[in-house]
């Protein structure tokens, strides 16, 4: 996971921004909100209906995500709509990049495993 961290650090080197980003993502509700609005935008009211917490509490979570630039908010009549902050393809690309990190790490571990148990038959390590 070192490579994951390096990727994040390379992307945004400001310590303040990292604090906001890590802080915003450190909460399960906010990650869930983020995942939802990345798929399709939603009003704060629609989001609030999905969680066992007050409208105001959900609004606060959205504000934290907004300060980390993970979502944008816009007015649509009386509703406040929340949207993920990247176009679909860029988003997919960045998500695939995260999967890439997971696979890089996994293949590194497999390579180590193959290097350390190289005596005898394939199943000798059992």
């Amino acid at each position: 996971m070192l490579s994951y961290n390096q990727m994040v650090v390379r992307h945004q080197s400001s310590a303040d921004y990292l604090d906001r980003l890590f802080g915003a993502l450190a909460d399960a509700t906010r990650r869930d909100i983020l995942a939802r609005v990345m798929g399709a935008d939603a009003s704060v009211t629609e989001l609030a209906a999905r969680y066992r917490m007050s409208f105001a509490a959900v609004q606060k979570h959205v504000a934290v995500l907004e300060r980390a630039h993970l979502v944008t908010k816009r007015r649509d009549g009386r509703a406040q709509r929340v949207d993920g902050n990247l176009s679909a393809v860029r988003r997919a690309n960045s998500l695939l990049a995260q999967f890439e990190q997971i696979w890089q790490a996994r293949i590194g571990r497999l390579d180590e495993l193959l290097a350390t148990s190289n005596q005898g038959e394939p199943n000798a390590g059992r």
Partner: protein, 162 residues
């Protein structure tokens, strides 16, 4: 680095990983076929995987769980769609609910592994296909916690060392 090449296709929602190992095909294959070997590399050190079932046969299933640093668990399954030993196999990978059944409404992805002898070792190609962007996002939002926790742990270590 054993990873030779990674190709991402955000439109087709696929990711192709090409890796080169010094070990022969039989040993790389065994690392996937033997659950005791598979669990030594499938999950990250902070979220180790334990395979409680591994029917490595067409139509067979695997079930595994990964345990996080705070004891939280994520359960998953493989369903083997095709096996052509020792050249290729394809699995459906998904999440299991607390009742041990595939979690409803949760996304699945397919992974195709191919192995061929190359340069005295093995060339492995893995193609992961996601059914939709939303599925990819949900899969990652669930994996995000592990990455963020590991990253935060490293920041703690850097601060402690400083």
């Amino acid at each position: 680095m054993p990873v030779v090449e990674i190709h991402k296709d955000p439109k087709a929602l696929t990711m192709t990983v090409v890796a080169q190992f010094a070990a022969p095909v039989s040993r790389v294959w065994a690392a996937y076929a033997d659950p005791r070997l598979l669990e030594r590399f499938w999950g990250p050190p902070t979220w180790p995987a334990k395979f409680v079932r591994h029917d490595f046969a067409v139509g067979g299933r695997s079930e595994y769980y990964m345990t996080g640093p705070d004891g939280e668990q994520s359960r998953g399954f493989f369903e083997f769609l095709s096996i052509d030993e020792p050249r290729a196999f394809e699995v459906l990978d998904g999440f299991l609910g607390p009742d041990g059944k595939p979690a409803e409404g949760m996304p699945t992805m397919t992974m195709r592994f191919t192995f061929e002898p190359h340069d005295g070792g093995t060339r492995m190609v893995t193609v992961t296909t996601f059914p939709s962007l939303e599925a990819l996002e949900r899969l990652l939002s669930m994996g995000m916690e592990e990455g963020m926790k590991a990253a935060m742990g490293q920041i703690d270590a850097v601060l402690a060392a400083g």
